[in-house]
């Protein structure tokens, strides 16, 4: 390369370096103001069009929970008895619907047994937990635990969530009823009951969600939300209280573990005068809050998390989240004007 060519190319490169950020910035500023929500490593763009359907053909009422099955499909549970289950592909295209007998459809959990997908549905109006095949055939129905001595009538039992172990054992959280956690074997035989309504460490106000945390393979534990108390509680599989993780201001619904993080829909902000004040919350592998899409940035002072609250009116009453293999989030909402799920694309 001769000197002339060198100087020419150097000038062009310099012009490019100077021009690049200016135009890149200008383009984003003028042409694109996509809303980006969340904090730190977990930020998202928002797609309100994902999964919208013809409400006269496939209606929803409250969208309570949402999961991804082994085929990668997105499965939504609503309490609309025309179609309690709505199955989408990841693009939001409708694939299938079923279910007309779950008026209080609330909790939806996937269980995989010998390579086959099953669903656990809790119905607080039927006061039952129902296990079905992925296409809706009922294989097990569990009534309220009469032998436990904790319930006088079935009306006291309003189950909100289940979680299933690899051996088929499952736990039921009675978040709208007497607040007990019931532990069953795979046949539906009661093994243990713990918890109950109260403010003690091992008790709950609104034991709304439950999941088994197997991030530490040697020490699996149960994570149970005490939604009214803005607390996530850790229990052993035998029902012994271990510890609490406080999330001030956040009415967390159920914990959803994806990779090393825990994701939550937050129904609403505790201190808000505006009722539709929900947001999402994400904890890292140390159970520290790292991102709150739709809310204030999580800040710890002296190891205490400052109170969280909604900062933009995007979500109304988010009730559950599902995270796909690309880390995108699908958000189901309660009491949101019969809207379909919202998709968040990670950026």
């Amino acid at each position: 390369m001769n000197r002339r060519n060198f100087l020419h190319k150097s000038f062009c490169v310099s012009a490019g370096m100077l021009t690049l950020p200016m135009y890149a910035g200008a383009y984003r500023f003028d042409m694109s103001k996509d809303l980006i929500i969340g904090h730190n490593t977990h930020q998202y763009k928002v797609d309100l069009n994902w999964g919208n359907l013809n409400a006269s053909e496939v209606p929803v009422k409250d969208c309570h929970e949402i999961i991804q099955d082994s085929k990668g499909r997105i499965v939504l549970l609503t309490n609309h008895i025309k179609n309690n289950i709505i199955i989408y592909d990841k693009s939001g295209k409708l694939l299938d619907t079923w279910g007309t007998t779950y008026p209080g459809a609330h909790g939806l959990t996937l269980a995989v047994e010998n390579g086959e997908d099953f669903l656990f549905i809790t119905d607080y109006e039927r006061h039952q937990v129902i296990k079905t095949t992925i296409d809706g055939k009922v294989v097990l129905t569990v009534d309220y635990p009469t032998d436990s001595g904790k319930y006088k009538t079935k009306e006291e039992y309003k189950p909100t969530e289940t979680t299933v172990l690899e051996n088929g054992d499952f736990y039921v959280a009675d978040g709208y009823g007497n607040q007990f956690i019931s532990h069953y074997n795979h046949k539906g035989e009661l093994l243990n009951v713990f918890g109950g309504r109260g403010t003690g460490n091992d008790q709950f106000l609104n034991a709304h969600g439950i999941c088994v945390d197997q991030r530490d393979k040697e020490n699996p534990v149960l994570l149970i939300t005490a939604r009214e108390q803005n607390v996530l509680k850790r229990f052993s599989l035998a029902g012994e209280y271990l510890s609490s993780i406080e999330v001030p201001g956040a009415l967390i619904c159920r914990p959803v573990i994806h990779k090393e993080e825990i994701y939550f829909a937050v129904l609403k902000s505790k201190g808000s005068t505006h009722d539709a004040s929900g947001f999402l919350l994400i904890m890292n592998d140390k159970n520290e809050v790292v991102s709150c899409p739709g809310a204030t940035k999580p800040v710890y002072e002296n190891n205490q998390l400052s109170e969280l609250y909604q900062s933009i009116k995007l979500f109304q009453h988010p009730h559950d989240v599902c995270i796909d293999e690309d880390d995108n989030i699908y958000v189901a909402q309660w009491n949101s004007g019969q809207t379909y799920p919202i998709k968040l694309t990670r950026v």
């Binding site: 020419h8 000038f11 062009c12 012009a15 490019g16 021009t19 690049l20 950020p21 200016m22 135009y23 890149a24 383009y27 984003r28 694109s32 103001k33 996509d34 809303l35 763009k45 928002v46 797609d47 309100l48 069009n49 201190g271 808000s272 005068t273 505006h274 009722d275 539709a276 004040s277 809310a295 204030t296 940035k297 609250y309 909604q310 900062s311 933009i312 009116k313 995007l314 694309t345 950026v347």
Partner: protein, 275 residues
């Protein structure tokens, strides 16, 4: 020069496509300008002023600004800008609103400060209290402490039937006005006062009715807020009997339609010239 123009063109094109994800994603993402800011979070140490009180306002969105008024008017970006904790020493209505160039402005958030009322010698609750929400008994409504939005904070009396109380001032006073505070939290089936009836007595035995100009705008959607009824009195009196009716039939749009609603009251402030 020609080469420079070509390179600049390439750079500009490249600049417009540096974010690969942008170029392949559908352009259906929600825009910031379509979204409204949430209401500013307002924190107050107390709203009944004996000497002074403090207000802080926050939102937690970068580059958002909060403006406020102290006359009940709607804040604009020409109103006072909130910069630091406000010291309040006089009764009044503080209204806050958040603005941001990328988002729709928030709705307003209002806090009303009251002058501390007179001490009441004898406050008797005639109707029966509900076992779930008795507050702190007869003292609850005249302890100079206002309840928060949390109806379980112990400062609220909650009833599902008419609430009747009799106040004996033990001497003749000139009562200028009465403020009755209540909570609205429709999700918890807590609705506004439906009706107020007041009788006053100058001699402790014979009562006469005091006209009360009270009306409510029917609620049409879920709401949570603190509210207050201001009742001018301007009478000399010794005793007072107040009957507050709860909403007897929850409106059609609510899941509790047709049922009686909860009525939650906290502080009653008796205003005289002296206090």
């Amino acid at each position: 020069m020609r080469m420079l123009i070509i390179i600049l063109g390439v750079v500009m094109l490249y600049s417009c496509n540096t974010d690969k994800k942008d170029s392949v994603e559908p352009k259906t993402f929600l825009q910031s300008k379509e979204i409204q800011l949430a209401n500013p979070k307002i924190e107050v140490d107390h709203v009944i002023i004996d000497s002074s009180s403090l207000i802080t306002a926050s939102l937690g969105v970068d580059n958002a600004n909060i403006f406020y008024t102290i006359d009940g008017g709607e804040p604009t970006q020409k109103s006072k800008k909130y910069k630091e904790t406000i010291v309040v020493s006089e009764p009044g209505k503080y209204t806050f609103k958040a603005f941001h160039e990328d988002f729709k402005p928030s709705e307003t958030e209002t806090v009303t400060f009251y002058k501390k009322g007179m001490d009441v010698a004898h406050f008797s609750i005639i109707s029966s209290l509900n076992e779930q929400y008795p507050g702190q008994g007869e003292n609850t409504l005249v302890n100079h402490k206002k309840g928060s939005l949390n109806f379980r904070d112990g400062q609220w009396i909650g009833v599902t039937e008419p609430f009747i109380a009799e106040i004996d001032f033990k001497q003749k006073i000139v009562l200028e006005s009465l403020d009755i505070s209540f909570l609205i939290n429709t999700n918890a089936w807590i609705f506004p006062i439906q009706n107020i009836t007041i009788k006053i007595s100058r001699d402790r035995d014979s009562f006469e009715s005091l006209p009360v100009d009270f009306s409510n705008t029917p609620l049409t959607q879920d709401i949570t807020r603190l509210d207050n009824v201001h009742i001018p009195v301007l009478k000399e009196l010794r005793k007072m009997r107040v009957e507050i009716a709860n909403t007897t039939s929850i409106p059609e749009w609510h899941q509790g339609k047709g049922n009686p609603a909860w009525l939650f009251m906290d502080e009653w402030i008796f205003n005289t010239k002296k206090n």
